[in-house]
Every structure is written in structure tokens, then in C-alpha cells.
């Protein structure tokens, strides 16, 4: 190869340096194209995690998850995940405490007694098995498509869903737009049949109730600088079908004394539109990384929530990092939420006393510690979170004796995640 210039000046003699450089360049450029293209790219990663979650005096969850991800050299990615959930313990039934000992019957017919002044709970045991798959494929340099499927089954709930996503990279990969949609076809088959809503629960229908969830996603992310990435995601869910909690009840209390006299089943609307907007930011400091997100959520049941989440990753060395994490969550109650109903007054169209639809403030403080030690391959990860959940213990519409009770005692929860992942 010779430099050709129009005026055909003869090339000056080459220096020794140029000769060595030329030889080195030739050696590099002569690596066969095929060998060059044969990336060391194909990789498999195995992740195993176990979540242990324990509410003080309430539910305990154990959830082992196994995930295998295969990354192909052409950028395709295939992953499969198998998970089991085991939930045991007690959950508030929705009924109010009483000044006297109460008795209650569980869905399976067990009769239990509740001490005076305590929030009645229902014991439950449930096991869920879930299988998820995802296939990601790049098209050309700009487009990436993702298709996912999921299936899960438990005693009274089955779910089958698909979802898809398409991302477009613009402005030299500095700006990414993602659109997606999903659909899930679920069925709810309460143990002992489905009780009629706002009834005494004795009239039940047998068989499965349908629940369908469709979702749409629009997201943009933008690289602002080499260090800073920001994004906004808007997600909309449309749910319809059986959205009631079949095992939850509401107390009917005496309008003067506030004593629970009877109870009725929970009843919720059969449609729910949910919208969330998530703002996220990832900022790389010299070594550390700061993650921050803010989420605003609103739905047609008038639940509104704000979530702030921060974490800070600090690499202790090549093999270890420490990531403290703090989260603040605050939600308003659904418009049909009430702590209880009053005997003798007409029943509303919908009502629930499920604390998850009531006013709620959750504070989470936790940390992740990940490490690797030679010669064991892979990375071990430990995450511990302390979660403090508070509702409104003295609502304005509490009657009589109910004013003496804390109707939403603070729930303290500790959750731990142990994970191990390795690549080969």
C-alpha cells in the first residue's frame, strides 16, 4: 500500500519506528475476519436467590428463585426463571377489634378466638410456583425487541401472561425510546367458593372467576453525560374481572358502642385503571454510583401514592461493594376504604377494610453487601431491609369503643435476600 498524492511527491524514506509500526499494524489487520467476528461473546449466567420475609407476628415468606440467562454473541438473550413462594402466617381479616373475646371462622372452616382489643387475623398457608421466560433480540443497530411469557399457579390463583417491548436507540445510542404492552389472563378460585360481595359469606358460587390485566408502557431514557443517565417511564394497567379479596371481611359495628356485631364480605369494583410515572436517575461518581427514583401512582379507586427511593453503591475494592438503600412510600386510601360499617345503615356499593387499600406510610432502610472470594467463581450477595409500615390507627369515622383501639398497629418487617450468581 502506498500513499498516493495528486502531485505524486515521492514518499520519504521510512524510519525504523515506522517499519516496526507498519509490521505490527499488518499483523493486527491480518487477523482473519472470521476469527475476529467469533467473539468470546456467548455466556451463560446462573443466578440463585432466596428471599426471606417476616412481618412481626404476621406473614412469613420464603421465596427461592433460580434464573438462567444465556447471552449469544449476536446480542440475543434468552432467560428462564423458576420461582417458588411459600407464605405462612396471619393476615388481618379486615374485621375490627372488640372489647370482648371474638370468634371467627376461616375459609377452611376452622374456628378461632380473638382476644379482646386485638385485630382479628386469618391464618393461611399458600404455595406458588412461577415460570418466566424472556427473549431479547437486537435488530440492526437501533432496535431491540423483547418478548416475555409468564405462568404461575397456586391453590386459588392461576396466571398466564405475555408481554412485548420494542426499544429504539437514537442520537448515537444517547437517547432510547421504549414502547411495550402486556396481557395477563388470570383466574381466581377461592377456597370454599366465591362469596357474594357485602354478604354474610354463606352464599357462595363455585368455580373460577376471570381477571384480565392489560398494560401499556412508554419510556424514554437519555444519557446526559458520560456519568449521568436519566429516564421517565409511564405505565398504564387496565384490570377487569374479579378484583375482590375473597377472604377479607368488614365488621358491622353498633352505631353507639362501636362493638362488632356482625361482619360482611369485602367487595371491590370489577375494573381498575392504574397509572404510574417513574422518574429515574443514575449518576456515576468517580467510583461510586448514586441511584434515585421517584414514582407517582394513581388509580381509578382513588389510591394515590408517592415513592422516593435512593441507593448508593460504594465499591470497597474489585471484589466487594456495599450499597445502602432508603425508601419512603406514602399512599392515600381507596375511595371505598373504611375501617368498618355501621349496623342499620344502608350498605355502600363497594367497601373494603383491607389495610393495603387504606392510608399507608412505609419506610424502608436496608443495605446490600456483595462479595467474591478466590478461588470460588461468581458473586455472593446479601441484602437486608427493615420495613416499617404505618396506617391510620385512629380514623375519624371510628365509633364508640373503636376509638380506644389502635386500628392500624405499626408493622415491622425484616426481609433478607441471599443470592449467588456466576458466569461461564
Amino acid at each position: 500500500m502506498q500513499l498516493e498524492t495528486p502531485d505524486d511527491t515521492p514518499a520519504p524514506p521510512q524510519s525504523a519506528l515506522r517499519e516496526r509500526l507498519g509490521t505490527a499494524a499488518l499483523a493486527l489487520l491480518l487477523v482473519p475476519g472470521a476469527a475476529a467476528a467469533a467473539d468470546s461473546g456467548a455466556k451463560t449466567q446462573i443466578d440463585y436467590t432466596t428471599l426471606l420475609y417476616g412481618e412481626q407476628g404476621r406473614a412469613q415468606v420464603v421465596e427461592p428463585i433460580l434464573r438462567a440467562t444465556r447471552l449469544f454473541s449476536d446480542g440475543q438473550l434468552l432467560s428462564l426463571q423458576l420461582g417458588f413462594d411459600s407464605i405462612t402466617g396471619a393476615s388481618p381479616s379486615g374485621a375490627l377489634p372488640s372489647g370482648r373475646v371474638q370468634t371467627q371462622t376461616s375459609p377452611s372452616g376452622h374456628v378461632t378466638t380473638v382476644p379482646a382489643g386485638e385485630i382479628p387475623t386469618t391464618s393461611f398457608v399458600d404455595r406458588r410456583t412461577g415460570l418466566d421466560g424472556e427473549w431479547q433480540k437486537p435488530f440492526g443497530q437501533r432496535f431491540t425487541s423483547t418478548i416475555g411469557v409468564h405462568a404461575s399457579t397456586e391453590k386459588d390463583y392461576d396466571s398466564l401472561g405475555v408481554n412485548g417491548k420494542l426499544s429504539v436507540d437514537l442520537m448515537q445510542h444517547l437517547f432510547t425510546v421504549t414502547v411495550g404492552a402486556g396481557y395477563s389472563d388470570d383466574s381466581v378460585s377461592p377456597v370454599g367458593g366465591t362469596p357474594a360481595g357485602l354478604s354474610d359469606g354463606t352464599v357462595v358460587t363455585h368455580g373460577a372467576n376471570a381477571k384480565r390485566v392489560s398494560s401499556a408502557l412508554l419510556g424514554v431514557s437519555r444519557v446526559l453525560s458520560r456519568r449521568w443517565l436519566v429516564g421517565v417511564d409511564v405505565t398504564r394497567f387496565e384490570e377487569n374481572g374479579y378484583l375482590t379479596e375473597p377472604y377479607k371481611v368488614l365488621s358491622l359495628v353498633d352505631q353507639v358502642t362501636g362493638s362488632p356485631l356482625d361482619q360482611v364480605t369485602d367487595k371491590r369494583p370489577s375494573t381498575r385503571s392504574r397509572t404510574s410515572v417513574l422518574f429515574s436517575s443514575v449518576y456515576h461518581l468517580t467510583d461510586d454510583v448514586v441511584y434515585g427514583t421517584y414514582r407517582y401512582y394513581t388509580d381509578s379507586w382513588k389510591v394515590r401514592s408517592n415513592t422516593l427511593d435512593f441507593s448508593y453503591r460504594h465499591d470497597l475494592d474489585e471484589n466487594r461493594y456495599f450499597e445502602p438503600h432508603v425508601r419512603l412510600y406514602k399512599q392515600t386510601a381507596a375511595d371505598f376504604f373504611t375501617v368498618g360499617l355501621v349496623v342499620g345503615q344502608p350498605l355502600p356499593e363497594f367497601a373494603t377494610s383491607d389495610y393495603r387499600l387504606g392510608p399507608l406510610t412505609t419506610f424502608t432502610l436496608g443495605a446490600t453487601y456483595a462479595f467474591h472470594f478466590d478461588p470460588v467463581p461468581g458473586q455472593l450477595k446479601l441484602r437486608v431491609d427493615y420495613i416499617r409500615q404505618q396506617g391510620d390507627g385512629s380514623p375519624a369515622n371510628a365509633v364508640g369503643v373503636q376509638r380506644n383501639f389502635d386500628l392500624a398497629p405499626t408493622v415491622n418487617t425484616v426481609s433478607a435476600v441471599v443470592g449467588y450468581s456466576f458466569k461461564f
Binding site: 524510519s15 516496526r20 499494524a25
Partner: protein, 276 residues
């Protein structure tokens, strides 16, 4: 590559031209994916996160590292792919902030190819050190893309990745490819020189916007890995024409590392060059 990439095809068939552009884009992204230090799925990540363990690399990565080793030897240690650690403490944003002597002294032990063992495609590097092939990756991508395209077509093509380019054979009508050298202060707007080239690589080293002012002196972004300090009196822009883009890029970088001696260095190499 974080810079505009173009392929000019001297031909009449738009379909063929599109196919060639497709090949170029695919190769550019392949090299970007494989050698970018901002990804976690490539050999560079593996090397930089090995924490002192030996890493065996594939043939292509091995050849690139071998080339970088030759450059290090030829430049007496000034061209060093481990000098990236210094870039964490220097910010060339036109301001006046320079790192403290202590920060530089703490950083220097993480720099130096002599601390790395490189034997039979296996690299062993002390923990916390990093390699960055950014200094040769773009030029390598230009040459490799030009090679792939040349194997597919009889048309002459010009491959240009952000100003580093390779011009193919003489065009139809015995014409050459016309390129220009930008005024470093007005990149993309004002050409200082116009060059006619064919079957040659061209590369420019220097970025006029990346400097710091220290005690009234302008320090460019090219760092001396031995002192941890910018090369003083380096030209703002050095353009070299050589048989391949890779050689052109390396020679322009080596020249810049000579500081005030850049012109003498290039004259000694007997290579076509333009210094601003």
C-alpha cells in the same frame, strides 16, 4: 463510537451502497461492543475486573494488545493503555482545576504497562489497574471496516469514523478522495487544509475543546503516564496520512506525546503530516 460515522461509495447502485453501509455499521458496532470499557459483557471488562487473576483473551483482543505493546515499546513508555486511571483525576473542561500532587502520586502506581504480565494471550494485571483500547480502537475499526467493504465491492469507498478515515482505491475518472483538516477552534465549520488522498489512512490527534488552564498555560488532554501530568506544549492538532488509519492514528498520538518535539518527530518518521 460516540461520533458520526460515514461511508462514501463511488458507485451507481444505491442498493449496493446500502449493503456496504450495513456491513460498515455492523462492524463498527461489533468492535464498539467488544472493546468499549463502558460495557460489562466484553473482554475489556473481564480484564479490568479480574482483580489480579490471569485472563486469557481471544485472538483479536490478543493482537490489539500486542499492537499496543509495540506502541508502548516504540514510544519508550509514553503510549500506555493503562493510563486511563489518570483520566479519573483530570478534568479537561476548559477550567483551571488541576489535581493535587498527592492525588497524582496516589494514581501513578495504577499506571504502567511494565506492571502487567502479557504472555501467550494471557494478561495478568494488578487489581485496580485498567486498560483502555480507546486510543487505537476507532482507527482499528476504520481499517477493518474498509477491509470488509473492499472484499465485497469493486467500488472505491471512503470510511470515516469521526474524522479518522481510510480512503480506498483511486476513484472512477482517476479522481481521488477530497478531505479536509478542520480548524481546531471551529470543528466541522472551517477547513484549514484540503487533502486529496487514495488508498491511505488519515487520522487526527487532538481535541481543542479539552484543556485546562494552569498558571496561565494551556494544558491539552494528552497525559504523560510517567509524570501523571499533561504533555506540555503539545500541538493542538496533529494529522498524519499513512498506509493504514491505524498507523496514521498511532503516529499522530506518538507525535503529540512528544510535546514541542512533535514536528521533529514526524519529520524524522518521513510521514505526511499537518500540525496546527
Amino acid at each position: 463510537m460516540a461520533s458520526p460515522c460515514t461511508v462514501l461509495v463511488d458507485g451507481d447502485d444505491p442498493e449496493e451502497a446500502m449493503a456496504l453501509v450495513e456491513i460498515a455499521a455492523e462492524e463498527a458496532w461489533r468492535i464498539e461492543r467488544k472493546f468499549s470499557r463502558y460495557r460489562s459483557d466484553n473482554p475489556i471488562y473481564e480484564i479490568n475486573h479480574a482483580a489480579g487473576r490471569p485472563v486469557e483473551v481471544d485472538a483479536e483482543t490478543a493482537q490489539l494488545i500486542a499492537y499496543a505493546t509495540t506502541c508502548w515499546e516504540l514510544s519508550d513508555g509514553l503510549f500506555d493503555i493503562t493510563s486511563g486511571a489518570l483520566r479519573r483525576i483530570w478534568t479537561f473542561d476548559g477550567g483551571t482545576k488541576v489535581p493535587t500532587r498527592q492525588a497524582i502520586d496516589e494514581c501513578l502506581p495504577l499506571v504502567g504497562w511494565e506492571r502487567v504480565s502479557w504472555v501467550d494471550s494471557t494478561l495478568t494485571m494488578p487489581a485496580k489497574m485498567e486498560i483502555d483500547l480507546g486510543g487505537i480502537g476507532k482507527e482499528y475499526a476504520v481499517d477493518r471496516t474498509a477491509g470488509l467493504i473492499a472484499a465485497q465491492t469493486a467500488c472505491s469507498c471512503l470510511v470515516n469514523f469521526g474524522g479518522d478515515l481510510y480512503a480506498g482505491a483511486v476513484r472512477r475518472g482517476a479522481r481521488t478522495w477530497t478531505t479536509g483538516i478542520d480548524d481546531p477552534d471551529r470543528t466541522g465549520h472551517a477547513a484549514l487544509y484540503r487533502l486529496e488522498i487514495a488508498r491511505a489512512g488519515l487520522a487526527t490527534s487532538g481535541d481543542a475543546r479539552r484543556f485546562v488552564t494552569w498558571r496561565g498555560r494551556r494544558l491539552g488532554h494528552i497525559l504523560n503516564p510517567k509524570t501523571g501530568w499533561p504533555v506540555e506544549d503539545a500541538p493542538r492538532s496533529v494529522t498524519v496520512v499513512a498506509p493504514t488509519c491505524l498507523e496514521a492514528g498511532t503516529l499522530s498520538t506518538l507525535a503529540t506525546l512528544q510535546g514541542a518535539g512533535a514536528r521533529a518527530f514526524l519529520e524524522q518518521q518521513g510521514v505526511a503530516h499537518w500540525i496546527v
